[in-house]
Amino acid sequence: MDNFEPRIVAFCCNWCSYAGADLAGTSRMQYAPNIRVIRVMCSGRVNPLFVLKALSIGADGVLVLGCHPGDCHYIEGNYKTMRRIPLLKKMLKQLGIEEERVRLEWVSASEGARFAEVTNDFTQTIRKLGPISWNHSKENAKEAKHG
């Protein structure tokens, strides 16, 4: 537990947050190396299923990063995310997963510093929470039943 390194999946929208992550990198900003970035076209593309899947196969936390409200490249994709994540968190709590393990943040293409800050802060939160204790329920590799 002492040397627990959180594994974090970050879904970044192509138009804002991924560019923000890029900016953080090209500006040589230091941030926690615990995140694995997955680029999606829009935060609205992040089906809650992706978050459940990430958590069930080993992620300790999931970040969903999108354009600020009003800035969505597809006009309202991020509003859908804004509605889905709170409901997903409420459901995760019932399934025994701390709601802090999923976080939605808005990061624009010019906010490299904010990207680093969010990443560091979230990594700290997950580090404090520790790994998910799947214990007896660890048989999560889903058999392909419906193709």
Partner: protein, 319 residues
């Protein structure tokens, strides 16, 4: 042509699926013409030993209903799999865990506490719980072990076909039996239903625009008769549920609860419904969104009403 040999079994189920097999009405005579029932604990006096004595693969098809909740369920699933050429998960419990699967929100001890201690009609001051072995003057009794986690049939043995529904509708049952009788079987793994698409395609209610400011539970409001229930704010599961039942519940003013399982290609029905449902909330203000979400008191239990054991998580983490 030799008659087909068919076995029927129930594991962790309510018995509704047994009634559903009989709900094919006069068609049962047609079934009796072409098939012999070789095992059916509910209706006929065969013993487990009779099944053990059958040759492997000597049964043409087994209609297995019920989830796998204890050692006996698992033993019978494995035994019937060995004896049957075709294994059919019949009904929601066998397909995806269904109502017995809701106990995956708890564990064995919490379930026992509820059943043997807390229920208002129970008096158990000595806190006696079921034991797998118990000594009586006549010898030692053995009862099957109760598992911590409910599993689906396909998580236990290899399954050839799935018949959805809680319980399967008459037409769905007959679709499966007809395929069996005619020998024109679909590819292995097929979910046998009249539709692979969402229930909304067969629902006669009028759909306009899905924008919801407030969610209602069925007792809170009398629905308008023609309009889409979801658009009226009822948690109608039709958008994320496989059709084939004929949309009977929405036509009787009750929202669909999702018993036909996910549409083709979806692996987690609950997440699928969550995604669709949240996106129709008519607000762009985080505080108002939270308020609207508060109208859904039990999202996990609602979204996974029939499918918790078959979901990605399979169960809740119980501390």
């Amino acid at each position: 042509m030799a008659k087909l040999k068919v076995a029927l079994y129930w594991a962790a189920s309510c018995g509704g699926c047994e009634i559903a097999t009989l709900a094919i009405h006069e068609k049962i005579l047609k079934l009796a013409e072409v098939a012999d029932i070789v095992f059916w604990p509910v209706g006929l006096d065969f013993k487990y030993a009779d099944v053990e004595n059958m040759a492997d693969k000597s049964v043409d098809a087994c209609l297995f209903n019920g989830a796998i909740r204890n050692e006996e369920n698992e033993h019978m699933a494995k035994l019937l799999r060995a004896k049957s050429k075709i294994m059919i998960a019949y009904g929601s419990c066998a397909v995806e865990g269904c109502i017995p699967g809701l106990s995956n929100f708890y564990n064995r001890q919490l379930t026992f506490d509820r059943v043997y201690i807390e229920t208002p009609s129970t008096e158990n001051p000595k806190r006696i719980f079921p034991q797998t072995r118990f000594k009586v003057p006549e010898g030692e009794l053995e009862i099957p072990e109760f598992y911590d986690t409910v599993k689906t049939l396909a998580q236990t043995v290899d399954v050839d076909y799935f018949v959805p529904g809680c319980p399967p509708e008459e037409r769905t049952t007959w679709l499966a039996l007809e395929a069996l009788i005619s020998g024109k079987l679909p590819p292995k793994g097929t979910v046998i239903s009249h539709s692979a698409r969402a229930l909304c395609y067969e629902c006669p209610r009028v759909r306009e625009e899905k924008k919801v400011k407030k969610f209602y539970r069925p007792y809170e409001k009398i629905p308008e008769p023609e309009k889409c229930l979801l658009e009226q704010g009822f948690l109608c599961y039709g958008i994320a549920t496989r059709g084939g039942c004929g949309a009977l519940c929405p036509q009787a003013n009750m929202p669909c609860t999702g018993c036909y399982g996910p549409v083709e290609g979806v692996i987690d029905q609950g997440a699928h419904f969550l995604s669709a449902l949240a996106s129709i909330i008519d607000s762009n203000d985080p505080e108002e969104i939270q308020k609207i979400i508060d109208d859904i008191p039990d999202p996990a239990g609602t979204f996974y009403r029939y499918s918790l054991p078959d979901s990605l998580f399979r169960r809740a983490i119980v501390k």
